[in-house]
Assembly symmetry: C2
Amino acid sequence: MQPLYHPPMSEVTVEGILYALSDPVRARIFVELANTDCTRACNAFARYGKKKLAKSTLSQHFRVLREAGLIRSERVGVSLQNRSRCDEFRGKHGALVAAIINSYISQKEI
Amino acid sequence: MQPLYHPPMSEVTVEGILYALSDPVRARIFVELANTDCTRACNAFARYGKKKLAKSTLSQHFRVLREAGLIRSERVGVSLQNRSRCDEFRGKHGALVAAIINSYISQKEI
DNA sequence: TCGTTAGTTCAAAACTACTGAACTATTGAA
DNA sequence: TTCAATAGTTCAGTAGTTTTGAACTAACGA
């Protein structure tokens, strides 16, 4: 399998963050990872409300989050363990990411 | 001409704001309107870097910003006068919008 | 080895965005 | 008034993106 690409923080853009988090499925994944501060397999997010997402769709969503610099994914056995990169956002995009998380949480309907 | 729709603040969503501002052309328009706190015609943004945008494209971008609740447009004579709705974001999405504006400004390359 | 589980890749279908051309609306000059 | 100019909008075609099922790879345990 291909190695997973994680951009360094210096390559993370505002536009990339906003784009990645403007999709409700991705926002929900990211907010949950950021809040619980633990790792989760992609699989754990296979349902969005009543809707079941195709594996390929979910795979794409994780790729977008990863390439925006928002999450880090590590292969562990048969699955990926994903976690937020919130701890790496000190200074640069920290305030932005925190504001987005807070807004989604207070809006609830992710 | 059709009347212009401006959603009430109660209908503005985080997702709509992020989506609207994840496009660099729209981000640039919004950040400029928010910063100068004055009105501008759509036309004033016809260039993006070296690129000249089609009138129809620009019209769509303004519609997206308007329908996300980010700007208010008023017909004045032959043109639209657009301004940011930042003053209406007290509380609800205020912190989010402020964080996005600050991030884009400190990133410069809009 | 085989079956199971987890994710990725691929190609087709469905959707969205960009554009030029034709349109509407307002203005100001003849 | 009529005419031309200016500012935006709408429309339809094309270009680009997203979603999906099917086929694939990779790791694990029996």
